[in-house]
């Protein structure tokens, strides 16, 4: 178990890109203090099975957090992602976006909870989880939860599980794009809202390259 405890304080900006290196469980606990911000992107590549736990405590006013993740599970991976986003004080903002592609006999679960404590007014907290399910034997579960104990807040969650759009595929093929290439373009574009949110341009390019390579070797066989 890899365990990371981080406190971000004093207008500091904490940025972290986590590429889970091997199949071991992984935990991160971040406390974001007044005026500070945290930006974490998680990448789980094909072949990795793990549980990734995030606990984010928004502990000081005007703290901000972006938490994002991609999981690519083409074969028989077993991935669990658990998020607890805890808004404890007023005027904090958080945005979560997790996207996964699941195929073969893989299984991916996302459990995401947003808790807004009593008195944590003017909280803005958003969460999205979207999965592409590409085989009949793959499984994907999504369990969003909102627990809100304050009345002046903006919170939302959205979750979808879908397939690749066949109308898009035919459109691309009619232009001479081979089916596998069309599928690769669709999968990359599906992930792009996560990758485009990575603040550092070099890191963004690197993750695009990693994701594309993983899609081609994992999902287009």
């Amino acid at each position: 178990m890899s365990d990371n405890r981080i406190t971000v304080a004093g207008r500091e900006v904490f940025r972290k890109l986590v590429i889970v290196p091997e199949s071991e469980d992984w935990r991160m606990h971040i406390s974001v203090e007044e005026g500070a911000s945290a930006d974490v992107t998680l990448l789980i590549l094909p072949g990795i099975s793990c549980t990734a736990d995030f606990t984010i405590e928004m502990n000081g006013p005007k703290a901000d957090c972006r938490l994002a993740g991609i999981y690519l599970c083409p074969e028989n991976e077993n991935v669990h992602i658990n998020v607890e986003m805890l808004h404890k004080v007023p005027q904090c903002t958080s945005r979560q976006i997790f996207k996964g592609i699941v195929s073969g006999k893989a299984k991916a679960d996302f459990y995401g909870k947003i808790v807004v404590s009593p008195g944590a007014q003017q909280t803005e907290a958003y969460q999205e989880n979207h999965s592409l399910l590409l085989s009949d034997t793959a499984k994907s579960n999504t369990r969003p939860q909102l627990e809100i104990y304050a009345d002046d807040v903006k919170c939302s969650h959205g979750a979808t599980i879908g397939k690749l759009n066949e109308e898009e595929q035919f459109y691309m093929r009619s232009r001479g794009i081979p089916q596998d290439e069309a599928r690769a373009l669709q999968m990359i574009s599906f992930l792009s809202p996560v990758i485009d949110g990575i603040p550092d341009p070099e890191e963004r390019e690197r993750i695009y390259a990693e994701a594309e390579a993983a899609i081609r070797s994992g999902f287009l066989k």
């Binding site: 035919f170 691309m172 093929r173 009619s174 232009r175 001479g176 794009i177 669709q186």
Partner: protein, 249 residues
Amino acid sequence: MNDILLKIEGLKARVEEKEILKGVDLTIRRGEIHAVMGPNGAGKSTLSAVLAGKPQFMVTDGSITFMGKDLLKMAPEERAWAGIFLSFQYPVEIPGVSITNFMKTAVNSKRKALGEEPLNAAAFLKLMKEKMAFVQMKPEFAKREINVGFSGGEKKRNEIFQMAMLDPILSILDETDSGLDVDALRIVANGVNALRTPEKSAIVITHYQRLLDYIVPDVVHVLKDGKIVRTAGKELVAQIEADGYDSIN
């Protein structure tokens, strides 16, 4: 040289359990523009989808030969490489894929299939710029996601732009005039006319006369209830406009 480009014989096709094309015969020679007209539900869009190879449409009988090859055995992308282009009645939105990336993949896939080297970045951008100007698209168009947030006119201009980029031998325009104002119609029609050569052909599928005022057909067919019921010269367009499809049986 055989100047027959496309030969459709006894074509029957269905979607799910419903038979839509009930025996279509159509021959197109090089350099010809054919209009296929007909009332709603006659099978016009089915015909274009079958020509482009849309998987949901099942051909149950008949044959289609394109440049001597059995078209029905070819995947949609192989048909594109062979020179068929379908301008969609309802172009599909593809969020997250830019026009530039999409066209680069399309153009270079075709080049690869034909045994040609991929275009380098400079040559590709030059081609993009030239063809965008051709349909009066602004430079920022290249960065936009395919058809996302496009107006009706922009979507159709985007189709003609893609047609110009891919330089097809047989273009099929499926109700390209629907939803266009007069200015957009003129841009689209001028685009199509500028691509005409003695080697290339087009099928213009339409409900109305107005597009055919700009793109003048050599041959006009009327499709009704899954069959071509009349074939004549361009004078047929005026008769349809005056008397309606009920006058033709």
